[in-house]
């Protein structure tokens, strides 16, 4: 399966992406096009935390703040973050 198809079928799931340059990204897939996948990075969120009521959104087709774009051609491996990685 191509990276495109994998990402397209798994929007909303947490993944770990390793690029050919060795960069590691963890995030939730938000959207994908023919050249890039956009993820919502997990992890330190730049000191923006806070405590919200019940809602922390990411959704399909969100037209702004698209998250981190990673070129599909740069991806070496992409894998689900196991739910029991704890």
């Amino acid at each position: 399966m191509s990276h495109y198809h994998f990402c397209n079928r798994n929007i909303g799931r947490p993944v770990k992406i390793v690029t050919h340059h060795g960069e590691v990204h963890r995030g939730i897939i938000r959207r994908v096009n023919q050249s890039q996948v956009f993820i919502d990075p997990l992890g330190p969120n730049r000191g923006m935390g806070g405590y919200g009521i019940g809602y922390y959104g990411y959704r399909r087709g969100y037209p702004w703040g698209l998250g981190l774009g990673i070129a599909l051609g740069a991806i070496a491996t992409i894998a689900f973050l196991p739910l029991f990685f704890w």
Partner: protein
């Protein structure tokens, strides 16, 4: 420290939108950034207005493509005096800190937010809180949201640690206290609708599985929000549900005032809920 005049920001936003009626969504995004997020910069010294915008949008702030008409109608509701009254009353009763309050419209197009929270959302910090209110928010819904968020500010105010050192257990107890207070003060049908009563067995099982092994992970660890809010394979709002049930058990055994409840140590809750 006050209820800030976000109505002035919104009026400016609405005027800019009217002046540039044919603007693209990218231009509207910039107008929203400059009217709403730039004035917030001094309250988030370490990040850019763009980071603030992205973060608040994810927590339910109204979208940059909202129309000027909608904003004007929202402003006509005059939520400011309602919130200020609540603030003064809670502050006095709980001996709570002064804080910075920002009231803004919510994003009513987010289906999940509408279905589960009637499009009202909030976000709080030790020194500030945000209320994102829908254009149809009732006084009781506003009170429920305010109590939830201000209870966080009160408890965090007494925490002897920096925000980046807060743990998953801190969050579970914070949310539990907030949801317990909302139900106690406003009514059982208010607050997060995903919260349900758990039997002792269910509580103990869920605690052992999802929270206990990770209770010390820090706020910025990526697992933190997955456990609080849920994800594929992790029940929605599991951290909130467990927290509420822990506080419920504690308050059945200890009849405390809200003021006292807000100051109880995490460990006391855990031991009284027989989860230690």
């Amino acid at each position: 420290m006050t209820v800030h005049a976000t109505d002035e920001w919104l009026k400016k936003l609405s005027t800019s939108l009217n002046q540039q009626a044919s603007s693209t969504s990218q231009e509207k995004h910039k107008i929203h950034l400059s009217a709403i997020c730039e004035p917030l910069s001094s309250f988030f010294p370490e990040v850019t207005p763009g980071n603030i915008q992205d973060h608040l949008l994810r927590h339910g702030l109204f979208s940059p493509v909202t129309s000027a008409t909608f904003i004007n109608e929202w402003l006509n509701k005059d939520y400011y005096s309602t919130v200020n009254n609540l603030y003064q009353r809670c502050k006095r009763a709980w001996e709570g800190p002064s804080t910075n309050i920002f009231i803004l419209p919510s994003n009513e197009d987010i289906r999940e937010l509408k279905a589960w929270f009637n499009s009202n959302a909030g976000l709080s910090y030790p020194d500030k809180l945000f209320l994102f209110l829908s254009s149809t928010a009732s006084t009781k819904e506003i009170a429920a949201l305010f109590i939830h968020e201000y209870s966080h500010t009160c408890r965090l105010h007494h925490f002897p640690k920096e925000e980046f050192n807060y743990t998953l257990l801190d969050a579970v107890i914070l949310e539990g206290i907030a949801e317990w207070l909302v139900r106690k003060k406003i009514g059982k049908s208010y607050g997060n609708k995903r919260i349900e009563y758990l039997s002792d067995e269910a509580l103990s099982e869920l605690w052992e599985r999802w929270i206990k092994p990770h209770q010390k992970i820090k706020r910025m660890n990526y697992k933190h929000d997955l456990l609080m809010y849920g994800s594929k394979g992790i029940p929605k709002n599991i951290g909130y549900i467990i927290g509420y049930n822990i506080v419920l058990r504690y308050m059945e055994k200890n009849k405390k005032s809200p003021r006292a409840l807000l100051r109880v140590e995490n460990e006391e809750f855990i031991s009284d809920a027989d989860l230690a």
